[in-house]
Symmetry: C2
Subunit: 436 residues, 2 copies
């Protein structure tokens, strides 16, 4: 008996192994462990094991996988490496795999399986049950839902195995089935499919084309992977980089550098504007060096409040809680939140400058005015950061980009440049005639 608390132990060394070491470890497993272990690997794991194992073993292990899992594994191989694996499949499976490969990977069509239970509407419940019993000997993804197809493969209804169980044996499937069922199109985005699963609490959803013809089913176990994968992609984008397409430890060194260097360089070039902005205020800094001391404090506050706002809005958008047309309500709300947060930070800043100014004479005789300039700037910059962070995801979505690109570093860079201009403008007004 295997206990799930042993599972982490069993898999502990796995993520850290190279592709070669994985194949080696896999081939030493006893046969009764090897098969469930193999089945539980990710598509990338399947691809690595299949490509790494001796050619004589490939046919055996390839045939352990269901057709949709074969498709997923092939996606992780270079296109020119796929043909030899396709040749190892039997004709029926190869046709199925090739049909599935025509779909885009991150749409419903790319997730679906062709192995679903089907019956005809005119069958009796008794006939349907024994027909399903025959199909169940093949490797169906699920027999929990049974799909009722007419002669042209059009999906007329869905009936659960439970409903067939409790119906009278002589009833006709057409009278037992549900005609009001949820379905998706082959090109429905996988994030939308995940949302449908989460809302509806279903175990499988049929994929139906524009003519009403049944294409396959997506099962909820495939969606758990999708939800995790989407969350990872979003997290990477929120961290200010391109999303990795495989696990961190499986990435090559230079791919890892390239995925990070792109955004980092863009941000760096954007941040160069801070040098230009500060250059414009060189005279003020020379005159009152005390002003320069608070620059990192002030611009980082704008960046941090912007990062909070953009993260909130991006995540709420991903979960469908906030839609494009909500932007106006959120603008008003976030302006007030920014005012409250800015006031809190300004209070902390004014206390700090006044205490240090009084106790250690750190900031010269006009420390009161410096505190005022910093306080007013903080309110303005935190409000501006909050507003920019909250609105940027809407703007990105509106022009067709992923809102998750409004990462903390991106928002911070935007706010840094404008924050400097706000700070020096406020300082000019407050300190004009005394320090400046």
């Amino acid at each position: 008996m295997r206990d799930a608390t042993d599972l982490p132990a069993l898999l502990e060394v796995w993520p850290g192994l190279s592709a070669e070491a994985r194949v080696e470890a896999f081939l030493t497993l006893p046969p009764d462990l090897a098969e469930p272990f193999f089945l539980a690997r990710s598509p990338l794991g399947h691809a690595q094991l299949l490509q790494g194992m001796p050619e004589s073993l490939r046919r055996l292990w390839l045939r352990v996988l269901a057709p949709d899992d074969v498709v997923d594994a092939l996606q992780f191989m270079d296109p020119e490496d796929r043909a030899p694996f396709l040749a190892l499949l039997d004709d029926a499976t190869r046709r199925e795999v090739q049909a599935l490969m025509a779909y885009v990977e991150d749409e419903a069509g790319g997730l679906m399986s062709l192995r679903y239970a089907r019956v005809r509407p005119e069958m009796s419940v008794d006939e349907a049950l024994s027909y399903i019993r025959k199909q169940a000997k093949a490797q169906l993804e699920t027999i929990y839902y049974v799909y009722v197809l007419d002669h042209a493969q059009r999906l007329e209804g869905v009936v659960s195995i439970r409903e067939l169980f409790v119906a009278r044996p002589e009833q006709v499937v057409r009278d037992v089935m549900r005609r009001d069922f949820v379905r998706v199109a082959p090109d429905t985005d996988q994030e939308v499919v995940a949302g449908v699963f989460a809302h509806e609490g279903l175990l499988a959803i049929p994929v139906v084309d524009a003519d009403g013809r049944m294409q396959g089913i997506v099962t909820v176990d495939d969606i758990v992977h999708v939800v995790q994968q989407e969350a990872t992609e979003d997290a990477h984008k929120l961290g200010g980089m391109e999303a990795l397409d495989r696990p961190y430890l499986q990435m090559g060194f230079w791919s890892l550098v390239l995925k990070r260097a792109g955004w980092l360089s863009i941000l760096f070039i954007g941040e160069m504007l801070t040098a230009s902005a500060m250059g414009a205020y060189e005279a003020e800094i020379k005159h009152a060096v005390v002003l320069a001391l608070f620059i990192p404090l002030i611009i980082s506050s704008g960046g941090n409040s912007g990062s909070q706002a953009s993260t909130l809005i991006i995540r709420a958008m991903a979960l469908g809680e906030v839609r494009l047309r909500d932007w106006w309500r959120i603008l008003g709300r976030e302006l007030l939140v920014g005012l409250a947060l800015g006031t809190i930070l300004a209070t902390l800043g004014i206390i700090r400058i006044s205490v240090w100014g009084e106790a250690f004479d750190s900031y010269g005789p006009h420390y009161g005015l410096v505190a005022l300039a910093v306080g007013v700037s903080l309110v303005a910059i935190v409000m501006w950061g909050t507003l920019a962070g909250a609105m940027l995801p809407f703007l990105l979505r509106k022009i067709g980009f992923d809102p998750a690109s409004a990462s903390a570093p991106f928002v911070a860079t935007l706010v840094d440049v404008s924050g400097l201009v706000i700070y020096f403008t406020v300082a000019d007004v407050v300190l004009g005639g005394t320090l400046l």
Copy 2:
């Protein structure tokens, strides 16, 4: 026939409505739409609707929910408001709800349902199927897996309905069932349960106590919610704030401010050290204002590279790809990545300063030395930022905190202070005798 592409339209106005407006809209729904709509709401939605509707309707709608969904909804009510709802349940359901409420919400026990199909090991397959047929008339979560319990409610094995279907009718359940099955304990964390689902591709997992007694099942559709919820909590922490416990638009104004003000104030107080650090170099800034111009550029580069590294490691930890003991390998790898990234940014920075210095005489006669100081600082600070970002999640996990607290703003603040010290130290060495 309902099309899932209509679902967004149907739900479009919902997230933006207040609790009162939701109840009002719900009560206008035609009866055949109201029930599926109600069932598809989140636990928070159930709680809002139940509390908002007239008392006369509460019993009806409360009884539409399965016991585990009642428990989830009650968790969103104040403890003192729960009793009247419990009183509306029939005795059997109330006992079930009270039993489930004893479990912690974010552990397997808090997710599980008691409505699973059960058979005895000594039954024949035929007896088992007709026994399940009887149970299927009650509201079972799934009949896909059937749990084989002995007289003391100990879980002896699991058999799928498909396996019963294809077995000979006279076989005994004990000879058909699997004894080697995955299970979790009532106190297994829900993130671990989600990981087990993702790895094993199961539709339901039994929850078994230390004595081997069956407690309930967790079904995969509940786990999709959990994975999304955990991803949201992590995203909020990565954005530098406390995780919200309900949807953005459902948060009250002051709760929203408080969830954000805490971390923002902590970061602000931490960032005050930059003012102290810069105060220590006031003489250098006075002497060479040109140095101050590059401060935002340099410290933000450290923050951005740190944000990338921490995000990568936090996400890899959440998916179980990276474990605590991998820290040493990752330290070496990230040091090299930091060196590569720092060199790229230093090159960009040196080009910028040299071109502007030559073309516009922006940075005085010693612009070559300024470029060198900025370049060297960038390599050092990007390496340090990358290292700090990569190691902080390990440190936090080691001392028992959530690694996701190593947010972009947190890492940036840490790197800002140390980055200033690095920059001015490098500048002192490179520019000593000329500019300084």
